[in-house]
């Protein structure tokens, strides 16, 4: 036994839990585990919804739980529980051990105690008192929905705010012992416009991490103008004609194309499954030489940034593609174990009930040398995708994205707005066709759903030109 004096029989946030955590890890190692990881969280969340000129929902929530992961060779057992007592955590370890059918043998892994404590939460404990109050949030949301009411064609106005405060403790048998507090705030504006048989919608989302004052600084007037103009531009738009054509994708959320089409395929979970076409392509050309792509968790305030990942590793800046050459995969602990790609500080999970997996953080295509006009001027007949909706990638790399706000390009100029466009393709085929990158890189927040739940991410890019892509329409 590493610690003879067990001071607490339950995890207590804000206190030292080292002895209890060591006892639990030692228990797992003693039962024959190769590796034991404990992830414990305490959450304090709040969301507010404004519709038209009223607050229609205020929903606080709080909770706590633990996720315990045991590795034996390359397989792992994961147990989650709301019971943070010593008994509950021990029971979870036992359950994971039993699931893996581990037999105790004489050769045990060595656990030298939690000797690598890092506290990332020190200056963050005041955040809960610095975030805006429900009253403040309500006032600003109502001001924003009021700003959306610019003419009588706007029939629906919504503003939503969400704040997630997550306190985590991560401890594992390699000595990792980490505390952190994460704060994410996001605000979204949505409108629906209608005139006779015509309908359009507009939406924008803004988000930050670790900046309690950010919502107060948010320029809701500018955001409302942007959403309003988008809905008005699209109200009388015709459906786009389907076909193969060159497209220019706008910066910010246009980066969702890289996130979905390529980023997911560079996660080691995809190598494990054998579902990425980029496996065994390291140091080979997989994209046009104009493309350099990065995934990092360190940009201050960005929605996908973290001080430490959910496996206790500080995030690194990973250059995934350099001048079209594949340089790195996004890896977590299981990814390193099963594929050999070194961890990148990308082990992420929605909450304690998910095992961490390799996930993107802030992922973007680096800026190039061209102006937005250069890109558009280079196209005689194509599509400008000013605002992208959601997208997804299939099991064999095929992707699709909805275009929320699009314009035809004719003879190098933007012309009519068009709706109903979907971009369809396969990463392997599209990446070499990104022939021009603009000089106006910007990031945008989003939520990414995958194997370990929904996590906060940033997508981004400058304006980019894709020489040819299938545009779905009518």
């Amino acid at each position: 036994m590493l610690s003879s004096q067990i001071k607490s029989n339950e995890i207590v946030f804000g206190s030292c839990n080292k002895d209890l955590l060591e006892e639990i890890i030692f228990y797992g190692i003693g039962l024959g585990a190769d590796f034991v990881e404990i992830f414990i969280e305490n959450t304090d969340n709040s969301s507010v919804l404004a519709e038209e000129d009223f607050i229609t929902s205020v929903s606080p929530s709080f909770g706590r739980g633990a996720g315990i992961r045991i590795f034996k060779e390359k397989k792992d057992g994961f147990v989650s529980t709301n019971d943070l007592t010593k008994h509950g955590l021990m029971r979870s370890v036992t359950q994971a051990i039993e699931m893996l059918d581990i037999v105790v043998n004489k050769k045990r892994e060595v656990f030298d105690g939690l000797n690598k404590y890092r506290d990332y939460s020190l200056h963050k404990k005041k955040w809960i008192n610095e975030v805006p109050s429900i009253h403040e949030i309500s006032e600003k949301l109502l001001a924003s929905t009021k700003s959306l009411k610019k003419n009588n064609k706007i029939i629906t106005r919504k503003g939503s705010y969400s704040r997630n405060l997550q306190e985590v403790i991560i401890a594992s048998s390699d000595g990792t012992y980490v505390s952190d507090i994460r704060l994410h705030q996001t605000v979204g504006l949505n409108v629906i416009a209608s005139d006779a048989q015509y309908r359009s919608s507009g939406s924008r989302r803004f988000g930050s991490s670790g900046m309690p004052n950010e919502f107060r600084l948010w320029d809701h007037e500018k955001a409302a103008n942007d959403v309003f103009e988008s809905s008005m531009n699209m109200l009388y738009a015709d459906y786009v004609d389907a076909g193969q054509m060159p497209v220019v994708l706008a910066n910010k959320f246009g980066g969702v194309i890289f996130h979905e089409a390529c980023g997911h395929l560079l996660e080691t979970t995809q190598i494990e499954r054998g579902t990425t076409p980029f496996d065994n392509k390291l140091n080979e050309k997989i994209a046009h030489e104009s493309v350099t792509a990065i995934d990092e968790g360190i940009s201050e305030g960005s929605f996908g940034s973290l001080s430490v990942d959910d496996e206790g590793m500080e995030p690194e800046k990973s250059v995934l593609i350099k001048d079209g050459i594949l340089k790195k995969f996004i890896s977590d602990r299981a990814g390193e174990l099963r594929t050999g790609h070194k961890r990148t500080g990308s082990g992420r999970r929605q909450n304690y009930s998910f095992a961490a997996a390799s996930r993107m953080r802030n992922t973007y295509i680096a800026k190039g040398e061209h102006s937005k006009e250069d890109l558009i001027n280079s196209i005689s007949d194509g599509l400008y995708c000013k605002s992208m909706g959601g997208g997804s990638v299939g099991a064999t790399g095929q992707f699709n994205f909805a275009v929320e706000e699009g314009y035809l390009i004719k003879n190098g100029k933007l012309t009519n707005p068009v709706k109903g466009a979907t971009l369809i393709g396969e990463a392997k085929e599209v990446m070499p066709k990104i022939s021009m990158c603009g000089n106006d890189l910007e990031l945008a927040p989003g939520f990414c759903g995958s194997i370990s739940g929904s996590v906060n991410v940033t997508v981004g890019q400058p304006h980019i030109k894709v020489d040819s892509i299938t545009v779905g329409g009518r």
Partner: protein, 450 residues
Amino acid sequence: MNSKEITTQISEAADSLNLKKWDYGASFSNDYSVQVDKGEAKQLKASQKQILTIRVWNKSNLVGITTTSDISQSGIKKALNQANIASDFGNKNERTEFSPLAKDPIEVKDSKKRNPVGIKKLLTLLREAEVKLLESHESIKSVPYNGLSESFYERVYANSNGAFRSYSKSQAALYLYARAEEKNKKPRSSGSVKLGYGVDDIDIESCIKDASNKTISHLNYSSIKTDKYLICFSPESFLTIINAFSSMFNARSILDGVSLSNKNSIGEKLSTEALNIYDDGLHEKNISSSPFDGEGTPTKRLCLINKGRLENFIHSESTARIFKTIPTGHAGLGSKVSVSPDWIVVEKSGETSDLKTSLDHSIFEGEFVYIEELNAIHAGVRASQGSFSLPFDGWLYKNGKKISVESATVAGDIKYLLKNIVNIESSQEVTTSGISPHIWVDELSITGDA
């Protein structure tokens, strides 16, 4: 704490805070799942979860809410406190009340609750299924997405007016998603999902067979010319479309201005007279059925479209009050109560004179596109505008041959789609999200090759 003890705890804590009116919903679950990779266990999971949502009404009868996973005495008290604070911001324009049906009798059926088989049996069964699927065809190289799980859960609703309901169930699920590869061709994937009350109720062999047949059937593929086509929707894909546009039937969506329907839409002709659509959460084939909704209202069968005309909307307590009707058993439990369908049943009415009954996917020899499965619903559906543009898996039937369609989307408008239904086949199929026959629709746009 069990559900009776929680009710007592909430009642006592509410009294101490002078909160006279409250209700709560809770769920408790134990889940077990396994994944395998080439015969080896990959990840084995177990989880124990508890979630409690409490609503309170303050002295001004405004509602506040809080959700927590901390169902300790202190957690319950904190939740009530937070809900009380939140009630200061309660919606004055749309006040929520208890469902008037929260104490009505509920239809009690045999829950068919099964006992756990345990993680080792789950693992053994999934390993065997993976091996059989890999052996079913030489082109199937892996089963990258697979899982076998069993869940045991209890749900509770209670309020300060004496309503108390609970039920407990079990459910198991198997999914197998195979990947096939042939030389000089793109990899192709497809799969199958089966549900049961317990693992022993799942037809594993049929899941293997479906996954194998579907995957192999996509090996010979070709691009499709962009054009308008006669479409046959599989039961699963038609239910996907109906669920994606269920805001048409949803009173909450109508009040929020995000539905294609309005308060006066009841009676509107949406489709051929041959079409009936019901929501039937208690259907015997619905393994996830719940006898009551988030507000304690009993679940029931409700006709949504009758002979092509909009017949009913689905309601919560508050939307029903606004529409001057009764709740239909489709509510969630929230500060703003959500409304959603349970289990859609599509069937052919007796009025079939305008159908082209020669259109039967098993014998029709003309050209048509069969849509097996629609993908990326979250990205390609604009429910408030009625439009969709969705990638799909399917086949082009032409000249008596069937070839898998490579990377294409189907686009259209839900009202156009419903109005252009040209046949509803007789035989219904049970899927994981409802029941439907094959549905034929004329002239929908498909984008493939330029």
